[in-house]
Symmetry: C2
Subunit: 224 residues, 2 copies
DNA sequence: ATAATACCCGAACATGTGTTCGATGTCAAG
DNA sequence: CTTGACATCGAACACATGTTCGGGTATTAT
């Protein structure tokens, strides 16, 4: 692995304090603190001391600074953190095909968005390709997915073996989420729930793949 | 619902441009732009014009400004977007109790963290209370949770009816995730999977609640 | 002792940056 | 035409903020 310094454990007290303040301020205010803000919050005696520690933290790889710029500090901590705003383009029922995302979703629709940390997603998915669907009904229960869950998918017409896909079964007239396997000319659709058996479909033509499932999110509130 | 203005659709062209720049800059730089940055990026003729639109956007509820503060702009759109870094304190097996999070997890452990967008979580959970567990084995399958899933929980000793909890059943010597109900002196533990029946426990003493499940995340990679 | 290193101080400097203001242009309502 | 609301402009002002510098203190190694 190896990823630069890992002096993590040996962070001196004031260094930790500065980092703490950095994090807090950003959290509360929405923008980074000025040097003097840090000084005040941390009871530092001088701005130069703060500057001193900022430089230290920068060479340690914890933050990055833009010189000559007010509040030009970005904490770099795990750095691969970034929010991806994914549009919820619709709901998914067993009885209907997956709604296709309109390529340009209007400006800030909010409410119909899911925010996902990029490092939670496999590889470097392109943000604008992904879309989300809210699952309705218990029809996906054999995929270990149920009412209210949010599935994040990426559009796809084909899948490789082992990927979980949303498929439209044209003969049964329904949509389903299953693991996909193409084995000797016929399609095997495997439920995620290991207690359930697979479905075999001899004619691959009747299996229309709508997308690949990338992630499932379940907000457990108080379902009753 | 109703939540203030919804002039969304009628955003004038330069307003959209400013918002766009705001979003981009924040994304790329890690901190908000100065008025002059916006002016440059957007080819505005004067700083006062930019200021004009910022004020407009503020009264429209899209941004919030801190006066007299450099780059004191936070975009407010969905605004409750913010990353919460939650430590994965361990794995959960059916056969073992839930590991308790040590109150202070060392600074940036990374790798053992989950980043979750705050607006995905119910209410305003306090960030430092939450912790995450990786589920091992299929023992939680009747809770619609299985191998590899990440459950985000908040510590709790008691639960209200209908909440999903991690419980340690001292007689059966195992941990389980179930919906909790206290009904007339006895405890009913209801699996999330509606196909499965509840478990009844007459002596509430033998049910030790370890925490409440707040969210379940499943990264669908390519299992198998 | 001497040097080296890390830490700390306060103040001054240079400039980045929000703010204000008077003047001008537009355009539709009265 | 006048009026007023809205948009635009440029320039100056005030101050918020990064930066620098000469000088400190402690601790440790040489």
């Amino acid at each position: 692995m190896m990823m630069g310094r890992r002096k993590s454990a040996t962070l001196t007290e004031p260094q930790k304090k500065v980092l703490e303040i950095l994090r807090d301020y950003q959290e509360n205010m929405g923008f980074p603190p000025s040097i003097r803000d840090i000084q005040e919050k941390g009871k530092f005696s001088s701005t130069s001391v703060v500057n001193y520690y900022l430089e230290r933290l920068e060479t340690l790889g914890f933050i990055e600074r833009s010189r000559q710029v007010s509040r030009g500090i970005r904490l770099l901590n795990g750095a691969p953190n970034e929010l991806m705003r994914i549009p919820i383009v619709g709901r998914i029922f067993a009885s209907e095909p997956v709604p296709i995302p309109s390529t340009d979703f209007s400006y800030m629709d909010a409410e119909h968005m899911v925010d996902v940390a990029r490092n939670m997603l496999p590889a470097r998915e392109k943000a604008n390709e992904l879309f989300a669907l809210e699952v309705r009904g218990d029809s996906m229960i054999d995929a270990m997915i149920f009412d209210g869950d949010i599935v994040i998918m990426k559009p796809a017409k084909q899948a490789r073996n082992g990927e979980m896909v949303a498929v439209w079964l044209s003969d049964k007239e329904e949509t389903s989420l299953k693991y996909f396997f193409l084995e000797g000319g016929r399609v095997r659709l495997q439920p995620a729930n290991p207690n359930m058996g697979p479905i075999y479909i001899d004619d691959p033509k009747t299996v229309k793949i709508q997308g690949k499932v990338v992630m499932v999110i379940r907000q457990v509130e108080k379902p009753m």
